[in-house]
Amino acid sequence: MEIPYNSTPRPDTGLYNAKVGIWLFLASEVMLFGALFSSYILLRVGADPGMWHLRPLNIWLGTINTGVLIFSSITILMSWANLKMNSFEGFRKFMLITLLCSVAFLVIKSIEYGSKFSHGIYPKTDTYYAIYFTLTGLHALHVIGGALVNLYLWGPGSKMWKTDPERFTNRVEVSGLFWHFVDLVWIFLFPVLYLL
């Protein structure tokens, strides 16, 4: 028994199954982060006067991380485009750059966390830091999750290129869509937590 439209699009919808699945999943992710952003707004609006920190984070590190993520969004797109152009080597190269970017992002993020901890600042310090650590922590978990999938596709998962290249290309596309979403969340997080 074979599930239809696993790798080829269904004619009337123009989509293969995983693409429908990932967009639905991303819709639910929007609601997850949307709820947290709403909580941010409510906590900020409801904070006692003078109790909300304004720009307490290192804007330079945040800017660098924003650049790293946007760059990695481009490279993962390139890795998919290379597969479409039938260049497996190009895919490997760009996916590797994407992976290195994720590691760089996480290293910078942990430097930021570390400096807060060393100043005795934890989630319990006040509601600003509570929502800061929750939002960025959950985002970092998404980075780790996406990076693990990318690592699998770059490593053992890439064997599928030989047996079912079309489906493998689709997998990279789906993983790329998730990665773009992770990038997009950060593009909202950065101004909200660092700049406003």
Partner: protein, 618 residues
Amino acid sequence: MATTTQSNPHHDVSDSHHHGHEELSFWRKYVFSTDHKVIGIQYGLTALTFLLFGFFLIMLMRWQLAYPNQPIPVIGGILHFFFGDNAMGAVKDGGGYFIMPDFYNSLGAMHGTIMVFLAIVPLAFGAFGNYVIPLQIGAPDMAFPRLNMASYWMYFVGGVVMFVSFFIPGGAAKAGWTSYSPLATLTDMQYAVNGQTFWLVGMVLLISSSLLGSVNFIATVIQLRAPGLTWMRLPFFVWAQFVTAFLLLLAFPPLEAAGIMQLMDNLLDTSFFLPTGLMVGGSVSMADKISGGGSPLLWQHLFWFLAHPEVYVLILPAIGIVAEVLANNTRKPLWGYKSLVYSALAIGFLSFIVWAHHMYLTGMGVTISTFFQTTTMLISVPSVIILTTLMISLYGGSIRFTTPMLFVLAFLPMFGLGGLTGLPLGFNASDLYLHDSYYVIAHFHYIVAPGTIFALFAGVYYWFPKMTGRKMSEVLGKIHFVGSFIFMNAIFLPMFIQGLDGMSRRMYDGGASYASDMEAGILGLTAESIRLNIPITHAAFGLALFQLPFIFNLFWSIKNGKKVESDNPWEATTLEWATPTPPPHGNFTEQPVVYRDPYEYSVPGVKKGFVAQNESAE
């Protein structure tokens, strides 16, 4: 619970694989299966077990309400053995064991949680959705079979976490199924990991499970419909599940976010939901432990943003089942199929903007209350359209009074009663009086218990022959129906009276401490409404008694039920009856093609009285 994942004897007949691939091991076939039918049955049996367990919890509570502080008969000693002195106090002169207040709170919180998240939703959505949707749309399986398996096992582990929480120090969660902060954070604070922690972890697992399930359902309906099965030819059951899946997909994540925040409040001492100046017991200030600055209302907003759509998650699949059974047993097409579909879609959309009608009493402001009162009245319109459509569908039909049809016929007025009594709760002014009273309990139980659960029973009786090749006993089924119908009403009708009398819904002693005392000049609950607790409790035990025929019937009929003569014993039109019985792995022997609308019964000029969806025009 351990028995729920075990194999069913009736699978033995499904060995005749049509596609000739290698035999799977026992574990892959029945336990870690990716076949939507096995997963559906796993969901069904697990959920039915939890349904029974949740019912046991409420029977203990009912005993306490009717006979406050009297020892629990028969099983008091067993409960004391498991839960100890903190949960089960001993009567002084050695007369047995009674329920302590904290344990009563645990029972109440877990009854709600288990019934909603572990029993009804998995049964309505997980079990029937999984089993029936791919069959009704002519698909070989779900779009993502492995995600489907992961979804079931996450649900199972989430259920185990919830169940285990009864046995940890301090016992299960006590803050109600709504887990309002700060109560949920402050209860059992002496334990670092307490019942509430288990509740939150369990919920995160259940939410992830329903996320995987809903992605799968929607993708399946979009992608795997058989050729010719256009959107307006879908059986209404598929539409109902489709809308339900969207509700689960989009409404659950905010609760996941809220759950993560409450988990941090409980474990990392953050103050998301804890306000500045919080005191415990009127004297102990929390200022040295927490920073404050949080908002208790934030939790309520996030919780009800899920929990109101959740109400429609409970009822929509039930309406889907009702529509199928009703069309099949009236032998005529559903009246106003398109109105049904558009109403379900309208309900799905509106259910996202009514949540704060649960919060009129919080003082969130008149403007917001007015907005949510308006949307709440709006959402009753499509609900009434659905009910009216189904009622009119009965008109002029030659009704077959089979067991599933009896449950459906009872569903209609019961759901109507539950829905209509909801209107005073949707209005701001009357809700201030009725809020948190037994009136509320009666209202939503009328929708979920004689409403949804009756529809689910109808579904079990209706699709059982497809699952096993045998019908359930009609005699036992009718006994089950009559008893359930009488006792359901005997339980919930008096609760309206109690609620109107002002009885609060969370009373350990059945309201005795708020009773009127004319000599002391206290005007409180009347003695009559407190006394009503006793017949209600008796009716609850009666209801339990009448579930025995069902449980017996369910298992006995697998081997001994009347064999069905054909693959289509109910003479139905939809595609699930076009498969072999029971359907093999891969479902259809050949890809079905759909030529017509879902309910072509009593077609003029057709001798057998119905035309299946996959019958081509001659």
